[in-house]
Amino acid sequence: MNTDYQIAVIGAGPAGMAAATTAAEAGARVLIVDEQPAPGGQIYRNIETADKAGETVLGADYAYGRKLTDALRASTAECVSGATVWQVSPEREIGLSVAGAARMITADAVIIATGAQERPFPLPGWALPGVMTAGAAQIALKAHGLTAADAVFVGTGPLLYLIAYQYLQAGVPVRAIIDTTPWHRYVTALPHLPGAMLNLGPLIKGLGYLRALRAAGVPFIRGASDLRIVGAEIAEAIRYEHSGHQHEITTPHVFLHQGVVPSVNLTRASGCDHRWDDAQRCWRVTTDDWGETSIDGIFAAGDGSHIGGALAAEHRGHLAALGALHRIGRLDAAVRNNRAAPVRHILAQAMYLRPFLDALYRPAKAHLVPTDDATVVCRCEEVTAGEIRDIARIGCAGPNQLKSFCRAGMGPCQGRLCALTVTEMLAELNGFSHEEIGDYRRRPPVKPLTVGELADLAGPGS
């Protein structure tokens, strides 16, 4: 069979870059594609053009990414940037759009490394202009050197404290951090602390960020409840309850964060099996030890298959490449296993901290299942929590039935910002587990392409 490439890698973050480099170095014909103008993914965004000043603000962990981009550029992998993948069929036909023109590419193996996205944070007022994710604050800083005045960071999880710390490093005042980590998480996370001790580095670093933020006098608000963002046309303030009183912080810039979850649109649209991971409170594509999904020849690597951070992602990418090389007959099993051993060791080390972080920063129930009926759940189609509850009452078997009744999930984002909330809500309303409730069906194109682009692919006599 004449395929265009032996291994196609989708996504040029740490997992994708490591996968493509490993596969290319083994002599395979490799393509790596990414939507952004240059490799790096989100975590190492703009790393190739970052200057020393940028690296100082963003830290050594960010600067590390240069190693991966350099190695990728030095390899024989063909690197296409500004490319949007809108489908991967089970037969590994990849639909790709570059500069407004679509084409189909075939590969013997595909490694999907499309990374993670922020977990939705459905608070009243979260759809007001000016409310963004902590990740967006990071991108504004990394890619464009931009910071917001009067920034209020709201939520839970390491990335929240990281961006606030980076603001501090950049000399930009942080208006407040509203930490939504429920108190009892400190108790429930304790059993996982011994495991975390095996990888103290990141833990110590994190504690260092918190200490620095406190020392700088950044207001740290814990135990706030009934959070809501208010404003007429754009965000103007965030209100909350604390110690029996109503409080308000005036700001046009609120950054929300309650963890990251795998981006599943492409793996789902390709037909891969997924399962609910309750520890990480998200859907994950089911893979074997090499990252191979339930579909032969389709692999998943990085945060897109299992949240673990940049270093874990890089090593999963490496393993997926080894798995794919063996799958296409370029690497025999024994060599593959030998090469994988040290990689698995580092991956395991990188993951020791994970159960502790997952337990400690598990979002509060009220932030997973909005209590206020007026809160928008599907932002694209403006479907509120109240409407979803109404429909569940007429007897909705699951998210797809719900979607067909009220359009939640039918907008351009294709469920990226509402699917998890809908599953959480239906699980609670129907009394079933998340696995039983299920997820929205995802379909190609996972990102839009024009009628003209697709029509141009039609053969004669269609």
């Binding site: 078997a397 039918m410 141009d456």
Partner: protein, 366 residues
């Protein structure tokens, strides 16, 4: 007994019949499968269509026409009862032809339909000039088409939502995630084994779409209903430009544009193929060249429950006297008459005379 009548299947046909039967005072229980059952009801294009139906079966053509005529009143009734707007409109519908050959063939089909209906089926063949008066932006390849004032469109998803809500408003009971594993008739009662436990009733309606064939077989009826895939795409919302439905392109009430379709025998595969989709949008682009700028946001394969001649099956099972089987692929068009005349007949223990030619026995040529 769990009910007077158990209806198996909560899709377009089952929900319509359940709603209608409740309206006749029957104590009903509707069994619906899980979220990812094949659900032809969710794949539907949304046409309330007359002009392409029953070329070789005047009875089916007449049944379809009757339902289309009942639709406006039916839609109003559903909205009044449930508050759900079905987005039904009946501006007439167009079937466009992209060659003289297609146009000639279409004309003869339309004429035959007209003649067999004793003049009840009304249509006009339109040339390009006449079409431009009704629809703007047509591409140069469009040579003409057939127009029937009897055609219209509606939102199939909101129709199902309204039927389900209406059924509930009428006090109908439902069991979710209830897949029927076995049916036996014994001593005047149908005994069902389901994933939600055992159930029984003296009367049964099997309207389970693609699940109908194996269920009907349990009661001795061979109802050959198999999947026929049609692929559909939908665009982002676009400013309104088209208020008439076309067979291949339709703009919804939200502004999104639906494009279809195909007829593929691929078993239970509800996926899509890029080459088939490309062919569909290529034809849509020939019809409306300006659509090339619209962004496609989703595609799907809809599995039609299809009989060998494409016509409905309305029949009763030989086991016992009270099990009815209903399967159609035009569940939207026929929804009005299903909640009306069909439900009424089934409530009285019979099938309407008008559809006596649509029994499953027609496929068994002796």
């Amino acid at each position: 007994m769990n009910a007077d009548t158990i209806i198996i299947g909560g899709g377009m046909v089952g929900a319509a019949l359940a709603f209608g039967l409740r309206g006749h005072g029957l104590n009903t229980l509707l069994l619906d499968e899980g979220d990812v059952a094949f659900r032809a009801a969710r794949g539907n294009f949304g046409l309330v269509w007359v002009q392409s139906k029953g070329f070789d079966c005047p009875e089916y053509a007449a049944w379809t026409r009757r339902s289309a005529d009942l639709w406006p009143g039916f839609a109003a009734e559903m909205t009044a009862l449930t508050g759900v707007d079905l987005h039904h409109e009946r501006p007439g519908g167009l079937h466009l032809c992209l060659s003289e050959d297609e146009l000639t063939k279409r004309q003869s089909q339309m004429t035959r339909l007209h003649n067999h209906s004793g003049g009840q089926f009304r249509f006009e063949m339109l040339d390009r000039g006449a079409l431009d008066g009704m629809v703007t932006g047509l591409g140069p390849d469009v040579v003409g088409g057939s127009y029937s004032p009897l055609d219209g469109h509606a939102n199939p998803l909101y129709l199902l939502r309204a039927l389900q809500a209406g059924y509930q408003a009428r006090g109908g009971r439902k069991a979710l995630d209830a897949r029927v594993i076995d049916i036996k008739w014994r001593r005047g009662v149908y005994r069902l084994k389901t994933t939600q436990g055992d159930m029984q009733a003296p009367k049964l309606v099997i309207a389970a779409g693609l699940g109908t064939k194996p269920l009907a077989a349990m009661l001795g009826l061979d109802a050959p209903i198999d999947p026929l895939r049609g692929q559909i795409l939908v665009t982002e919302r676009v400013q309104p430009f088209l208020n008439l439905p076309l067979t291949l392109v339709r703009q919804t009430g939200e502004g999104s544009v639906l494009m279809g379709d195909s007829h593929e025998d691929v078993g239970f595969d509800d996926g899509t193929r890029w080459d088939v989709l490309a062919g569909i949008v290529d034809r849509a682009r020939r019809i409306f060249p300006f659509l090339e700028a619209a962004r496609i946001v989703r595609s799907w394969g809809a599995l039609r429950p299809y009989s060998p001649d494409g016509l409905p099956i309305y029949d009763r099972a030989p086991e016992g006297d009270g099990a009815f089987v209903a399967s159609v692929h035009s569940g939207v068009t026929l929804a009005a008459i299903h909640t009306g005349a069909l439900a009424e007949a089934i409530a009285e223990g019979r099938l309407p005379d008008e559809v006596s030619v649509l029994k499953a026995g027609r496929f068994h040529v002796h």
